[in-house]
């Protein structure tokens, strides 16, 4: 299961759907909004998604993880919209009979999701500047007030 959520994620609620008597292992990954990234002081950020294709590609990644690893459930929910420091940007939960599969499937899911799902992140910095992550091109810079451009 892969879905987007415009509202805050609650890990305890999300984990309830993973309950399974056959499961011996549950691995979760949470991506949190950090106060610093690449040396810059982050104030907040926005996630924007291409919903239809994000959900299709997310579902494909979940299906791949299920083929590659012996898992019972694999859920991924990604936030969209405006997030403050410390907020949960993405939540993944994987259950399996054995822990090796749960760890490897969870890692696979987040690595592939970050690389392939059409979701974009705009970071807002303390000084007022903002940048679309991974979209810088030669000559771009973050112009911080008080510094020469």
């Amino acid at each position: 299961m892969f879905r987007l959520s415009p509202t805050p994620l609650n890990p305890a609620d999300l984990a309830q759907a993973l309950t399974d008597e056959r499961a011996g292992a549950c691995v979760t990954f949470e991506g949190w909004v950090r106060s610093r990234n690449d040396g810059q002081s982050v104030f907040a950020l926005d996630y924007e998604a291409y919903p239809l294709l994000a959900e299709k590609e997310g579902a494909r990644i979940v299906a791949e993880a299920r083929e590659k690893f012996s898992v019972l459930a694999a859920h991924c929910v990604h936030r969209t919209g405006h997030l403050a420091i410390g907020e949960l940007a993405v939540w993944l939960g994987v259950t399996a009979e054995h822990r090796g599969d749960a760890f490897e499937a969870c890692r696979y899911l987040i690595d592939e999701a970050k690389a392939r799902v059409p979701i974009w992140k705009k970071e807002h910095y303390a000084g007022g500047a903002s940048v679309w992550i991974n979209c810088a091109t030669r000559g771009d810079h973050v112009h911080l007030p008080g510094q020469p451009a």
Binding site: G31, Y47, E48, A49, Y50, L52, L53, A54, K56, E57, H78, A89, V90, I110, A113, K114, A115, R116, V117, P118, I119, W120, K121, K122, W132, I133, N134, C135, T137, D140
Partner: protein
């Protein structure tokens, strides 16, 4: 000539200043269409950093565009 719908997301949406437009073009492929749009709207991302989706599926940069296609150019992603 074909009529296409283009949707914009993220940095391209901001640089274009709108989320969707329709246009009439001779561009045969996503790459040709991006080149046309980039020249007109001064998109900063070079073509080789943008993927294409047509009718909500990823396609090759050299895929054939058809009349009525809905096209999205996908900047480098940054989920997670």
């Amino acid at each position: 000539m074909k009529n296409l719908t283009i949707r914009y997301f993220a940095i391209l949406r901001e640089q274009r200043g709108l989320t969707e437009e329709t246009l009439t073009t001779t561009a045969a492929t996503p790459t040709a269409l991006y080149d046309e749009l980039q020249a007109r709207h001064h998109f900063t991302l070079p073509a080789d950093r943008v993927r294409a989706a047509v009718n909500d599926e990823f396609v090759a940069a050299t895929a054939s565009l058809r009349d009525g296609d809905r096209v999205v150019f996908i900047p480098p992603v940054a989920g997670g």
